[in-house]
Every structure is written in structure tokens, then in C-alpha cells.
Subunit: 348 residues, 2 copies
């Protein structure tokens, strides 16, 4: 934790910043260990780093934070503490309202985005972080197994999602990493088909995409099954997606670019003639946020390095017919990709 703060202090000095203000909850947790629900602000100024929280979060933040904590009654009282700072480092997620307030109440003149410095730290996971993510992945494995068992003709997608989320929570998850996707039949062609009141029908493709938040870290897994026997077309697209997912995981190497990895899966799907139905990027980084760096997409030049955690999740979505997606959370090791979610993939 001290190394992380030191990096921010050095960054401020190297870039002529009078201070750095961190407000995004994932970053506040990363640098302080605290997670005040009503918000908290880490202010770096000179060699000093202090976490400011509203009064109602004070007792809890003191228990959790590695850094000194101070409380404020009104947000304006906090803004006043920034007086004297002319050039402030902030996150790209800083809101226009807060920028306007800091200009007005604290006379801050310039705002410089410091996201790259934070990304450089967070994108490589430490041993301790990887252990927590592995545990989050185990919980996701149990939850997806529960979903697979629970899918039966006549059941509502929403009730399967309720079961899934209960299993996660009983296994120690704080909450689902995102709204659980249980998308059956024609809805399986919607990449983000969160569980609805639709009932499962015989012959449906069912895409189940879920993840667990465990000790602030996320996991992400997708499996697809057919209710009853798959038809020829369902089997065909399932096998293409599975081949693309396997080969992409096998292709993972430190030193390759994120966009090259995206191409591995994209080219396989295109060769089979389904390129136009793979309508999203291959994956994304996973950590304190469910979607973080790198993006495994045609637009990301990031070079993969040991300790990155990413998803690999090719899919084929045919409007009206249905869709298939297969996804694992994968650790980049010096020897290649290692799956952290481990549920069987031969499901059709």
C-alpha cells in the first residue's frame, strides 16, 4: 500500500502537480483499503496522503484505512481543504459538477488526468490480488454450476438468476459482479440479456453470464447450454465459439498486443463465415472493476504482461435464432494463459 501511495506522490512531483485527488471508489480502496459507501476522497499533497470521508463513514473508514482519516460535515468543508492547490491531478471519471465546485470553492485552476499512472499500477495484479480473484472465480464456478442444474423447461430466467445470486452470496460473495445474465431462446442473441420473466422452453439456447464480487475483486464466467438436444445449427455455432475460445486462451503470451489476441478468435469465427455475428470485443481486464484494462479489442495496443487478468469471451449472436458465448477469466502467466474459472466447457 505504501509503494502505491509513493508512486502517486512521485507522479505529482514529476508532473508539477500541487496535489492529486482520488474519488473513484475502486481507486480509493486500492490506495487506502477503505470503502466508504457514501464516498471518500484521497488527497495527496506534498508527502502527505489523507482520506477524507463524510461524518457517517468516519468510524468504519478508520478501521479499514491504512492512511490517516479525517471527517467532514459538508462536502464544501472538504473542498475548502484544497485551497492553495492550483494544478490538481484527478481521475478521468471526475465529474463536471465536482470540477466546477473545485474551481469555485477552492480556486483550483487546472485539472490533469492521472489515469495512466493508476492504470500502470492496477493493471498488474499482485500475488495477493490474484489469490482473491481466484477465490472470486471459484465462487463463480459454483454459481454457474448451480445455474446449469437449475435450467429446466418452464422455469423463469429471473428465478434462475435469484438462485445463482443466492449461491454466490452463501459462498462468501459480497454481491454479483454485475446483473446476472440468463438469456434463453431468442433472448440469447442479446449479448446483455439480463434475466427476465421469460420462461425456459425446450430447444432454447441459454446463455448464463455471471460473476462474483469477493473482497472487492470481480470474476466473470459465461456458459451456454441447450435445453434438450441441440439442433445442427446450434451445435455448429457452439463448436465454432468453443474453438475460438480455446485457441485464444492457448495463444495468450506476455509480449503480444491485446488486439492481436482479439484477432485470434475473430479470425477463426470469420473463417467459418460468422464474422458479422461476433459483435463485441473478445474480452476485458478484470480486477477491482468488472471492466478494466486491458480491453481485448481491435483498438487496444496494450502489450500483455505477466499478472494481468482478462476475460476471453467470444460469441456468435444471430438475431431471432439465438446466441452462444463461452467465457473464462484468465491470468496471463509467463507460460501463457491460465484459466481461473474452471467449469467444464463441453456442454453441447
Amino acid at each position: 500500500m505504501k509503494d502505491r501511495i509513493k508512486r502517486l506522490i512521485d507522479f505529482a512531483n514529476e508532473n508539477g502537480l500541487d496535489g492529486i485527488l482520488i474519488a473513484k471508489s475502486s481507486n480509493v480502496f486500492y490506495f487506502t483499503g477503505a470503502s466508504p459507501l457514501a464516498g471518500g476522497y484521497l488527497l495527496i499533497r506534498g508527502d502527505e496522503a489523507i482520506l477524507y470521508v463524510p461524518e457517517l463513514e468516519y468510524e468504519m473508514a478508520k478501521e479499514e484505512s491504512f492512511l490517516p482519516v479525517e471527517k467532514f460535515k459538508k462536502i464544501d468543508d472538504f473542498y475548502s481543504t484544497l485551497k492553495g492547490i492550483k494544478t490538481l491531478g484527478v481521475e478521468g471519471s471526475m465529474t463536471l459538477s465536482m470540477i466546477n465546485a473545485l474551481r469555485e470553492k477552492a480556486d483550483v485552476k487546472d485539472f490533469k488526468v492521472v489515469d495512466d499512472a493508476i492504470k500502470e499500477l492496477r493493471i498488474i495484479k499482485t500475488k495477493e490480488e490474484i489469490e482473491i480473484i481466484e477465490r472470486a472465480c471459484e465462487i463463480a464456478d459454483r454459481a454457474v454450476m448451480a445455474a446449469i442444474e437449475d435450467v429446466t423447461e418452464g422455469k423463469k430466467e429471473r428465478d434462475i438468476a435469484a438462485k445463482v445470486e443466492y449461491v454466490m452470496k452463501m459462498n462468501g460473495a459480497e454481491k454479483p459482479a454485475f446483473e446476472t445474465i440468463i438469456a434463453s431462446g431468442h433472448r440469447s442473441a442479446l449479448p446483455h440479456g439480463v434475466a427476465s420473466d421469460k420462461r425456459i422452453e425446450k430447444g432454447d439456447l441459454v446463455v448464463m453470464d455471471l460473476g462474483a464480487l469477493y473482497r472487492h475483486y470481480n470474476s466473470d464466467i459465461t456458459r451456454t447450454i441447450v435445453v434438450g438436444s441441440p439442433n445442427e445449427k446450434q451445435r455448429e455455432i457452439y463448436e465454432i465459439v468453443l474453438e475460438a475460445q480455446r485457441k485464444a486462451i492457448e495463444a495468450v503470451r506476455p509480449g503480444m498486443k491485446a488486439k492481436e489476441l482479439d484477432s485470434v478468435a475473430r479470425n477463426i469465427i470469420a473463417e467459418y463465415g460468422y464474422g458479422e455475428y461476433f459483435i463485441h470485443s473478445l474480452g476485458h481486464g478484470v480486477g477491482l472493476e468488472i471492466h478494466e484494462w486491458p480491453r481485448i479489442s481491435q483498438h487496444d495496443e496494450t502489450v500483455l504482461r505477466e499478472g494481468m487478468v482478462i476475460t476471453i469471451e467470444p460469441g456468435i449472436y444471430m438475431p431471432k435464432f439465438g446466441g452462444v458465448r463461452i467465457e473464462d477469466t484468465v491470468l496471463v502467466t509467463k507460460n501463457g494463459g491460465r484459466r481461473l474459472t474452471k467449469t467444464e466447457r463441453e456442454l453441447i
Copy 2:
């Protein structure tokens, strides 16, 4: 929905804006009916209103949206569509990253915050919205009853939260409105003590604060109980909080200021000598967001009007000893406050 869009178009014309860009998910839903998980952007320009979504959200957004939908492959392609707009109305939640991108890729010069226009619409709930919130409150009532039944010596806070959230989901909730708070014993003194691995002990005060998200609208309720027989001090603070909560609800009137309502409860608690332990505001608006306008606090001059939905949630938090909070979601009617959450309050 058309009236809402018309209000934005008029606002743009009245204020010399070349366009308005809406990006916050609650507002995108409010004005379009769509809720694209990967984000969506409503652009108002002249008399035209179009929802732009990433390709993977296109099919679903077309089903949901009242407005025309267009898709983009890369976010930069969307930014390009804003070319020619010099003065853009945006939300205060607009991020610095997006502002920088719009300056660079679309040559937008000025950004004006339009939050007040949106607030004026959203702060008064329509009949349809109130019906949905009532249903969200019924789900919260069932969930809090399940929590009360589930609290027993030896049980983990987290397992009670798992049960609560399962009950919500099985009753039609999309998800919890926020991370369920089950805070027992010394943890009950933490206003935001989300469920932990702590086990319930005999004699514990247990604060249960939860809400359901149902068809995009939130509910919010808190109840506090004691495991076994309350001691004198527990009973004393419970009765003070209950009196403050009752009298605040009875005091609700269209025409009074939010801060006056806050004072009703604050004065009662102060008169009993516990003023320093009531460390947050009395409540907040509830709707598409769990915390919205008005804030029922000493700093909010908003005049209450019929159709506002607010929480009333006084609390007393004594570090180490424990805490009590009692909360209902309340509708402002012309005759006063009407509780939408209805679970019994005489629990100690």
C-alpha cells in the same frame, strides 16, 4: 415520454444550446425507456432526439426505446456525430474524460450543466412511477420481514443478507437497491455497516437497511431489533428514534422546506440529549436512483411538493455501544406524508 423530450428541446432553445447530451443511465432510461448495460447516449439536436448505443446493445435498445436508435462500432464514431455543436448541454455527472474527448474529436467548445431541468421533471413522480415504487416498497417489506425472522443467535450477518436478497429477487426485484446492511452489536453503530462475517449475538442491536430495485425504481426501509430482551439504554434510544421518525412523517406538508422537515426529527433527538449521535441527514429522495432529490438535510432549501418520494430515517449511533435507525419510504401527498413501506415499527 414525449413531454419529457419536449421539455429538453425547449430548454435547449431557451438557453441557446446547440444540443443536449444525456449519458447517465437513470436519465437515459427516463427519457428513452431503454437501459443499455454497456451505456447509451441520448442526443437532442434541434427537434431531433436519437439514442446512440454500441452495436451489442442495438437489438435490445430498439425493443425498449420510445425514440429512434442508432448504433456505433466505436465510441469515437459516436463523438463524430456531435460535430458542429459548439455549446452542449450535459449532466453534472459527465466525466472529465468524456469532456476532453468531445473537445478533441467533435470540437465542442462549451459545456453547460442542465441538471436543474432534469431534476425539475424527475423530482415529481407520475402516477405510473408511484405505482411502481409502491410495488418496490412491498418487496422491501417482505424482505425486511424475512430478515427479522432470520435473525437468530449464531447466524452470520452475511447469510441473513443472502436470504433477504433471495426473497427480493423471487418477489420480482431486479436486484437490491444497494448493498444490504445487516449490522449487529457494536457494528450497528456504523450507519453503513454492510453485512459482514460477524455472527449475531444475544443482546445485539441489529440494524437492517435494505431496498429493492423493481422495474428501475428503488425502495428503502430500515428496521432495528434486539436479539432477546432489550436493556434499558437500548429501549431508550429506540423509543427516541421512533418518536422522531413518527413525528417527522406526521409533519410532512407540501410547502415546507426539506431542511424544516430535517429539523423536526433533529430537534426531538437533540432535546433528549442525543443530538451529537444523529450523524447524517434525515433522508433523501428515492426514484430511479436510490439517493436523489430532495435531500432532507439542513442544507436543502427545496420546497416539498405533492408527488415527491422521500425517506425518513433518523438514527442514533453510539460508538462501541450500538445504534438504532428506523426508516420508511414516504410519499408527499396534499394531506401529508404517506408511508409506502409499511412494516411494523414497534419492534423493541
